[in-house]
Structures are given as structure tokens and as C-alpha cells.
Symmetry: C2
């Protein structure tokens, strides 16, 4: 027998106590602390905290959108399966359009990735939606381009593209953008579906607990 | 318009070139380099390479198991959705037992987590299987305990539990174990479904390309 903690509640408690001890949340509002804590919990890295960037209205806008039944658009399938449905306050749709018919052809005609082309299939329901990126820098760039040319504004952008090509740049472009859309993102190369799922799950949890 | 790379092939090429430039793969065999590269690609962190630990027979054992149709057992649902099915060489089953009937009751009776209890539902098909952990330290610990008391041996263990409580310890226990089961793992707190999926997808890719 190995000596380790087996009780789920005790594991959560010790995890969050460790994060609280190791991450310096001073100056961060309570809702953002909850979201940041969940993201850190998902990756095991308190050291990412200084690289988290967020708009002051992120929690309020995200909570309000989720409560009003906004769809949650995701850039990859794995992310949709990380969303804890029972936390969503209005049985919100969780949608990934990446594998829909026509996306490969659209990507070819736009000379971009399937992930970017898939964003065009969000446009009809994009107004007031919550958009979540856990994979593709090109998808986030594509959303920003559509917004520049007048696409409907989502209520919130949770941006965690990951990797070596365009991830850091796409997130800096979001931070520098002038659309005044509330966002949360992680500067640099790090990101991924687990962090993105943690962010939307934390937001959903806030939307439920304050209801 | 933003200036960024949109061509999927060019993005992959530049990503892998960046990893090759920044990670020191000297002394690592070719198959392990492919697996490590995919894991680094999934998390954006070349700096994890020194913390990857693997058994010399990992690739051979994993490839052989997958080709012979071994099931792939996963400790969480999100991980199963990160497995690229078309890469699997024998239409292998990808199985997560976490949400099966009876798991909460079994967890309660064993005084452990649902993730750990779910491992007991692998036992019938565990001999020669590929086991993948992207979330729960308790699930990995539980597998090691079952092996200690004579459970059938899987062909390979891909171990990427993440977090602050037991993750590092469960992976060190795997490395120190005497079951002679080929494994790959990442020391420390880091891990997660994306890294675990990258590992099994890389192994599946190797199983197909050398066929």
C-alpha cells in the first residue's frame, strides 16, 4: 500500500490550499481569483499567475451571458468534453464546429486552417456568446479579424491557444485589441484544452453559486 | 488583417523545428524523440524534456500492443476525446470507466476517489492493455496497488497525472516500481489530458507508420 490522500474533498482542499500559499493573488478581485485558481489547478503551475491577463469585466460579463443562456463556442472537440455540463447555469449549448460539413472546403477557400474556418460557423449565434479557445492560434486570430470587419461581438473571450507558432502572438493581439470585449488569456506559449476548460468551468461555477 | 502563418503544414513544420532547436534530444532514441516532441508540442514547453522519464522498451511494447488490438484505458473522459482514433492501428477500443454504473458506490466502499475505483473495472481486460493517465494521481496509485497484489500486467503505462496532491508522488512510485512494465511519465506536478493524449497519439502514429 502506498501512503497517499484518497478522500476527494481532502484532495481538493489541500490542492487549493497549496495554490493559495504559492500564488500571490494580492490585488486580484475575488471572482478572478476563483478563475485563476481553477486554471492553476488544471495545470499544476502556480507560476503562470503573472502571465494571466484579464479584462476587469470578464467575470461579470461571462456570468451574465451564461445565465442568459448564451452558447459556449469551443475551438476543439477535446475542450467541449472538458466542460462540466452540470455547472452551466442555463443548460447552455456547448458547440464545436470544427468537424461540421464544409469546414475543410471553407478552410481551403480562405487559405487558412480548419480551426480558423470553423469560427465562421459561429457568426449566426456569436452575438453575446462565450467563446473559448484551448488549441488553435489561427482560430483566435480569425475571430479577431472577423470582429475587425464588423462581426457580432461575443460577451466574453477565454483564450488559451497553445504552442510555438502564433499562440503568444494571437493572445497579445487579443490583449491589444480595441473591441472592448471582456477576456481572459494566458500570455506566452502555454495554454491548452485543460486550462481553457478550467476557465469556462470556473465561470460557470460562479454563475451558479451567485444565482 | 494580422500577419500570421495560416498554412497547417507550415505551422506543423515550424512548430517541430522550434522544438528541435530548443530541446536537447541527444542520447534519446528516435521513437522516444517522436513521443517527447508530440508531448512538448501539446503543452508549448520544451523545458519539460529533462523531466520526462521512460522505460527503454516503452515504444516497442506500446507499438506491439496497439498493433495487436489492445484496448486503451484512460482515466478521464476528456482524455478519450483527445485520442485521434484514425491513428490507432487496429481500431482499438478507447475506454474510460469513470462514469460507469457502480463506480461511486465502489469508490465509497474502497474509501477512495471515483477515478481510482474506476481502475478496478479495467481488470478483466488489463492484461496487455495500454493504460493512459491524464488526470488523477489516485488512479495511478490504485493501478500500482492492484499490480502489487497480482493484477494482470498492462503492456504499457503512459502516466501524466497533474496537480498538487499526489501527482509527483504517484509518478515517482511508478518510476520506482519493480513490475517491469514499460512506461513513460513526466516527473513533478505537470501533466494533464493534453500531454497524455499526445503520448498515446504519438505511439499510435509510430504503430501505423512502421507497419
Amino acid at each position: 500500500m502506498y501512503d497517499y490522500l484518497r478522500d476527494p474533498a481532502a484532495i481538493y482542499e489541500k490542492s487549493f490550499a497549496t495554490i493559495e500559499r504559492e500564488a500571490d493573488f494580492s490585488g486580484i478581485d475575488a471572482a478572478a481569483v476563483k478563475i485563476a485558481t481553477r486554471i492553476i489547478h488544471a495545470c499544476g503551475m502556480p507560476e503562470i499567475l503573472p502571465d494571466l491577463a484579464y479584462h476587469p469585466d470578464l467575470s461579470a460579463a461571462g456570468i451574465s451571458a451564461l445565465r442568459s443562456g448564451a452558447p459556449v463556442f469551443c475551438d476543439c472537440e477535446m475542450l467541449t468534453h472538458g466542460v462540466i455540463r452540470r455547472l452551466l447555469p442555463a443548460n447552455n449549448d456547448v458547440i464545436c464546429t470544427l468537424n461540421e460539413d464544409g469546414v475543410p472546403e471553407l478552410a481551403a477557400s480562405l487559405k487558412t486552417t480548419r480551426s480558423a474556418a470553423a469560427v465562421d460557423l459561429w457568426l449566426d449565434r456569436l452575438a453575446g456568446a462565450v467563446t473559448v479557445f484551448g488549441n488553435a492560434p489561427t482560430a483566435l486570430f480569425h475571430l479577431l479579424e472577423r470582429l475587425e470587419t464588423g462581426a457580432p461581438k461575443p460577451a466574453a473571450i477565454l483564450a488559451f491557444p497553445v504552442g510555438f507558432v502564433g499562440a503568444a502572438e494571437s493572445k497579445e493581439a487579443l490583449i491589444a485589441s480595441n473591441f472592448d470585449i471582456p477576456f481572459i488569456t494566458l500570455r506566452g506559449r502555454k495554454g491548452g484544452s485543460a486550462m481553457a476548460a478550467a476557465a469556462i468551468n470556473a465561470l460557470a461555477g460562479l454563475a451558479r453559486e451567485d444565482a
